[in-house]
């Protein structure tokens, strides 16, 4: 490995380590149900565009019950989920080519272990809203953990393909929960 490549790899590991350390400090779900700020809408637009999907309406979701109902609607976009999955697979291939599969998986495992704690903020946010729904706390924690995994993949791959997950993670970091594309609209809680 050349010095430049080694420096590049070291920087990627440092980014992932810093990101992993940042996970417990973020204000998870702190802005759910609030008005979507222009910066949030801009991040949603970048997220949808980076997935290669057509732009569409963006809508806020007012409460936890509505969020649960939205995530269970039958008209959710299979194209949206497939686009994310395809992006994940590409990033994993790129990351494995860059660092080797085992080191890549080890870094993602450390990240997943940090993200395993995200049920505490989701449960707290539900309790603060007066909603008793243990399963929904797990659903929200699962979505947040998935976003951490995807952001980690993007950092490790170090390619343009990861832009969608960088934008998606901005939404979580801003305290929101992007619920995906349902009935042609991108919903953000």
């Amino acid at each position: 490995m050349s010095d430049a490549a080694r420096g590049d790899a070291d920087a990627a590991w440092a980014h992932v380590a810093a990101f992993t350390a940042e996970i417990p400090r973020l204000k998870w779900f702190a802005a759910v149900g609030t008005i979507l700020a222009p910066a949030v809408i801009a991040a949603v637009e970048r997220y949808v565009a980076a997935l290669g999907l057509a732009p569409g309406p963006i809508a806020p979701v007012a409460g936890w019950r509505e969020a649960a109902a939205t995530a269970q609607r039958p008209d959710w976009s299979r194209d949206w989920w497939q686009a994310e999955s395809a992006c994940e697979q590409t990033l994993q291939r790129q990351g494995a080519a860059r660092f080797g599969l085992q080191p890549l998986l080890a870094a993602l495992t450390a990240l997943a272990e940090a993200a395993a704690e995200l049920q505490t903020p989701s449960a707290s946010a539900l309790a603060a809203a007066g909603v008793d729904a243990p399963a929904l706390a797990k659903v929200a924690a699962g979505a947040a953990a998935q976003a951490c995994h995807q952001r980690g993949l993007a950092l490790l791959a170090g390619s343009e393909t990861g832009r969608a997950f960088t934008a998606k993670f901005e939404l979580f970091a801003a305290g929101h929960w992007p619920l995906g594309i349902v009935g042609g609209t991108c919903f953000v809680f």
Partner: protein, 237 residues
């Protein structure tokens, strides 16, 4: 039949002074849980994310997979403190349970696996909650709420699925496929290992007792609650 109360062993350090037979018995249990929690997450929970029919269920399944993996981590950490080599606590180093040899193909199968296998796991963990080795007892208490949630998830999702004729058929087919493997989950009748576990209060119940308890509880769930048929199986493993 319950085992007599045994002197509790309060820590991993105190384990060093326990009889070798006791130490080996505890190692077997910790190793088995570490291997099977990891393998179960890999072959059932992770693939089920793609099969789940809505984003809500995909994210919930993602969380369940993480919790099952978390159980592996907890058992592995205890195993490491006890000096068990890491290679013996992964499916690559130790053979997992035979139920894991059948790859998951449908969402209905996953829901049935949670219904059946997580109930079996609850029965095993209930027994460990009275274990004479306190670190294992404490670990059982920590993992139990999540095991209960996973089993309830299986019950809730199957309850929803059987509301349609197509769903009933698919859930019944999955029960027919997976249930016959379940009695073996509890180990052999007149097991020498189980006799050692009970001798030291590491476990409280015979394999036969736990299997009979499982069969009663699963019959209540499948025939009483879901109004489906439980296939006939040989109860003795």
């Amino acid at each position: 039949m319950s085992a007599p109360a045994a002197t509790p062993i309060k820590s991993v350090d105190a384990l060093k002074a326990a009889p070798e037979e006791y130490r080996l018995a505890v190692r077997k249990i910790v190793r088995s849980h570490a291997v099977n929690e990891l393998y179960g997450a890999r072959v059932y929970d992770e693939p089920a994310i793609a099969l789940a029919p809505t984003p809500y269920l995909k994210w919930l399944t993602c969380r369940i997979a993480m919790e099952e993996y978390g159980h592996h981590v907890r058992f592995r950490q205890l195993g490491e403190q006890m000096g068990i080599p890491e290679s013996e606590m992964t499916p690559e180093g130790r053979k997992p349970l035979s139920i894991f040899e059948f790859p998951l193909k449908t969402w209905e199968e996953f829901c049935v696996v949670k219904l059946l296998a997580d109930l079996a796991e609850i029965i095993q963990v209930e027994d460990l909650m009275k274990c004479s080795f306190m670190p294992l007892r404490n670990l059982a208490k920590v993992t139990m709420p999540e095991e209960i949630f996973h089993s309830q998830f299986g019950k809730d999702t199957c309850t929803e699925l059987v509301k349609t004729e197509d769903g009933r058929k698919k859930v019944q087919a999955a029960i027919d496929h997976y249930f016959p493997m379940m009695p073996a989950f509890f180990g052999k009748t007149d097991s020498a290992n189980n006799a050692v576990y009970r001798k030291y209060g590491i476990k409280q119940r015979t394999n036969e007792d736990m299997r009979a308890d499982f069969l009663k509880r699963v019959r209540d769930l499948v025939e009483g609650h879901l109004k489906l048929k439980l296939p006939e199986v040989a109860e003795a493993a």
